[in-house]
């Protein structure tokens, strides 16, 4: 295994040079090759985060080359053990992961913990939205909650796979308004497309997804957003938060980067410095805006404290949902 990895480093370094990428001579603080581990398939949210990081880090001259390894499966539960074991102690590497991994590790009853990896920085978050078809009788989140309280089984809500962020949000809403989370009727769909189709076709009463996925449908007048799970009103989004409507719910589907266990403090600090610097660049701000990501940068120890609290919180919700 080790020999293969060493080879990969050499080969892709050479390939990067040959392709003329980052052709400027290395500067003092430049990392020659950053290796990123994505415990998900190419194309998903973590992979896009990794590739956006790559683009910005290269454009700003922070790194010369980037090599991305994808190990998909089970919401990151397949990849994590590889990162923890095989990448141990490698100072030039980062894993991209997020809230979904916390949830899937708990739901899959995995013995591993995300906190075994070294938290470097939380970078972005996507808040979720609760939406209904344009023809729905629900005008705001209060209508929805009233119906939920009356009979939760009569309010089917569509979203992604069970135990994912959409499901967690519904559980959080139910808990906040005093409806037993186990009684809500959540309809899990394989992916955003089928879930959105069910919502557009009024097959379900409401749907939960990242706000970005609903945005265009709302503009076209096909859907109506009842509430978003952000902490405060968002620029350019004409939708109230749950909190504004008296429902104490806040949820970000956050994504961040981790170093492997066993890296030196110097390496860890260098990574934190590099990522903090990157997060402050206008290029990164532009990238986030394009993709509807909210910047919620939090580094080092602050991130670690956040993680501990987050793990406990999600475990509680998943227990209520009967998934942990």
């Amino acid at each position: 295994m080790i020999s293969r990895r060493d080879f990969v480093v050499g080969a892709s370094g050479a390939a990067a040079m040959a392709a003329g990428l980052g052709s400027l001579p290395a500067q003092a603080q430049t990392v020659d090759l950053l290796k990123m581990f994505v415990p998900a398939a190419p194309g998903g949210g973590w992979d896009q985060t990794a590739r956006s990081l790559e683009a910005v880090l290269r454009a700003t001259g922070a790194v010369n080359g980037v090599q991305i390894t994808n190990v998909p499966g089970a919401g990151g539960a397949v990849g994590l053990p590889q990162f923890l074991n095989n990448w141990r102690g490698q100072g030039n590497s980062l894993m991209v992961a997020g809230m979904v991994m916390v949830g899937s590790l708990i739901a899959n009853k995995s013995p591993l913990k995300i906190t075994t990896a070294v938290p470097v920085a939380r970078l972005t978050g996507e808040f979720l939205a609760l939406a209904v078809p344009a023809s729905s009788p629900f005008k705001d989140a209060k209508d929805f909650v009233a119906a939920l309280k009356a009979d939760p089984t009569k309010v089917p809500v569509a979203g992604g796979s069970a135990g994912g962020s959409d499901h967690i949000l519904l559980g959080t809403i139910a808990k906040a308004v005093g409806v037993p989370a186990a009684r809500v009727s959540y309809v899990a769909f394989a992916g955003g497309g089928p879930a959105m189709a069910a919502l557009l076709g009024s097959q379900v009463a409401a749907g939960i997804s990242g706000y970005g996925e609903f945005g265009e449908q709302i503009k076209a007048g096909k859907l109506r957003v009842l509430a978003i799970s952000a902490d405060k009103r968002q620029d350019g989004i004409d939708a109230p938060t749950f909190k504004e409507q008296g429902i104490d719910v806040e949820l970000f589907n956050w994504r961040g980067v981790f170093a492997p266990p066993g890296v030196s403090d110097a390496d860890r600090n260098a990574m934190i410095a590099m990522i903090s610097k990157m997060a402050a660049t206008p290029q990164w701000a532009e990238m986030c805006k394009q993709r509807d990501w909210t910047q919620i940068t939090l580094t080092g120890d602050g991130y670690k404290a956040f993680l501990d609290a987050e793990v406990a919180r999600i475990e509680g919700i998943l227990k209520d949902l009967g998934l942990a």
Binding site: Q48, R51, G73, A74, V78, S110, A162, G191, E216
Partner: protein
């Protein structure tokens, strides 16, 4: 007429030399990756996503569309020649296609696949250009209850592949359903039959099972029964291309396949496999040459499913372009490419980005023509592959299957599964079990289950939803008729004979 004007504008955009070049690169690359089991268009486009940082949007989407259509063409080639399907939508093609190849009609099978893909792709693309809004309205009427009814209908097609014993065929079907259950349950997040193996949490890839059962299983079987000097493969009998009769037998299946593929592909949870099953079933029932099915290979069984698979690929683009809904993995990746250009795909895409959308649609037409031109001359070359002596041919097939399985995912579990299922495939051949029902069970089982449970959750546990919704009821009635009618007809006939 709006569609016509748009299309003309699209051709203006797509026909620039640079965009034609992108289209050529895309279709060529697509054909190459379609050939490989395990590497599909979704993964390839995902790997090429960084290109969006460098290339203008229209060109990038022309490239991606080329890859998408190309992969659908490529998938059939290995199915026919090596019994190693490259994509799940071309599994059905291998059933008759490989039989034809072994009996000297590889050229005809490849030709009917290529031309059928062209016909279906072209009609499908016309459908995108002119029918998209209507098709989408209709497709959104399908909820979980309707999908479940559709799965019931698709399950009746298993009767076409049961072979000569219902008991063995149904054993294979239930084995497939069980394989499909392995992994995390979508509705409740519970692990099922994973035996604690994390790699099984996302389920078993149907391609691993298909390649294991077909290619590995057959290699083992042939090794066990191989006699030196004896050849079981006739590389070529008669003309290389299709004969006049073969043309005549293909046209109906092409059109019917397209009719199955396009609308079902356009449904948000329709998929590409179900229309291929339905098409195979229809052709087997309608053919004038039923004795060729499963023996020397019937050309209808290649022409129909191949057309269905390409038409469904076109259908998938309908919800993507009209509503911004990604209903397949490839569409989802293409949507994320839109996003990296700051374009948010949605119902207004056509209004806000007409040049992009019509350029893409026009390039689909061009890509289709290119694929035909690329693929027909290659047939002669492909057929020569069957002249490779058996030892090297089978060894090559196994190495090839390994690339697709281990090479892409680097997963030992997948590799071990591939070989283990290969051994199961050997035993099934040795003891006369049909293998196709395993694939049908594996694809339809979980789909039927999830849609059934979604429908039940939505109805708050009311069993009658499947019969009170008109569309769902209609499909169920059709399925029942398909099963019962032939028997009733037989009984009536018998009674008349007695009387």
């Amino acid at each position: 007429m709006e569609g016509f004007n748009g299309l003309m504008m699209g051709f203006g955009i797509a026909l620039t030399p640079m965009n034609l070049l992108w289209c050529l690169v895309g279709t060529t690359l697509g054909t190459a990756i379609g050939v490989l089991p395990g590497l599909g268009p979704a993964l390839t486009i995902a790997l090429l996503l960084p290109i969006t940082f460098k290339v203008e949007p229209t060109s990038a989407f022309i490239l991606f569309a080329g890859i998408y259509y190309g992969a659908m063409y490529g998938g059939s080639t290995t199915s026919i020649l090596l019994n190693t399907p490259g994509e799940s939508a071309s599994i059905v093609t291998s059933m008759e296609g490989n039989k034809m190849a072994r009996n000297g009609r590889a050229g005809a099978a490849l030709a009917t696949a290529a031309i059928g893909s062209f016909v279906a792709g072209t009609i499908g693309t016309l459908g995108i250009a002119f029918l998209a809004p209507f098709v989408v309205d209709w497709a959104l009427k399908f909820g979980p209850a309707e999908y479940f009814a559709l799965m019931v209908l698709a399950f009746t097609t298993v009767s076409a592949v049961l072979g000569n014993s219902a008991v063995r065929g149904l054993t294979a079907l239930f084995f497939g359903i069980w394989l499909g259950m392995i992994g995390i349950d979508l509705q409740t997040g519970q692990a099922r039959f994973t035996f604690g193996v994390q790699e099984l949490f996302d389920g078993i890839n149907v391609i691993v099972v298909a390649v294991g059962l077909f290619a590995v299983g057959e290699t083992l079987y042939n090794a066990a029964t191989y006699k030196e000097g004896e050849t079981k493969i006739t590389p070529l009998k008669g003309s290389l291309m299709m004969t006049k009769l073969e043309w005549k037998r293909s046209i109906g299946p092409w059109l019917r396949g397209t009719a199955f593929g396009f609308p079902i592909g356009a449904m948000p949870a329709g998929g590409a496999e179900i229309p291929t099953f339905l098409s195979y079933y229809a052709e087997k029932k309608l053919t004038k040459y039923p004795e060729e099915f499963g023996t020397v290979g019937a050309i209808e069984g290649v022409a129909g499913p191949e057309a269905a698979n390409n038409a469904s690929a076109a259908g998938v683009l309908v919800p993507m372009l009209t509503l911004g809904l990604p209903t397949s993995a490839t569409a989802a990746i293409m949507l994320s490419a839109f996003q990296s250009y700051g374009i948010n795909p949605g119902p207004l895409l056509l209004q806000t980005q007409p040049a992009l959308v019509w350029g893409l649609i026009a390039s689909l037409f061009i890509g289709n023509v290119m694929l035909l031109v690329l693929n027909l001359p290659l047939i002669g070359l492909w057929v020569k592959m069957l002249n490779i002596p058996a030892p090297q041919l089978y060894a090559g097939i196994l190495v090839f299957a390994t690339i697709g399985t281990y090479g892409i995912s680097q997963s030992y579990i997948d590799l071990i599964l591939l070989y283990a299922i290969g051994i199961v495939g050997y035993l099934m051949r040795r003891y006369d079990f049909p293998t196709a029902p395993v694939i049908i069970g594996m694809i339809l089982g979980p789909l039927a289950e999830q849609n059934f449970r979604q429908a039940m959750t939505i109805s708050a546990g009311d069993w009658t939803v499947f019969f009170t919704r008109p569309l769902s009821l209609t499909i169920i009635v059709i399925s029942v008729l398909l099963v019962v009618a032939p028997k009733l007809y037989g009984m009536v006939k018998a009674r008349q004979a007695v009387a």
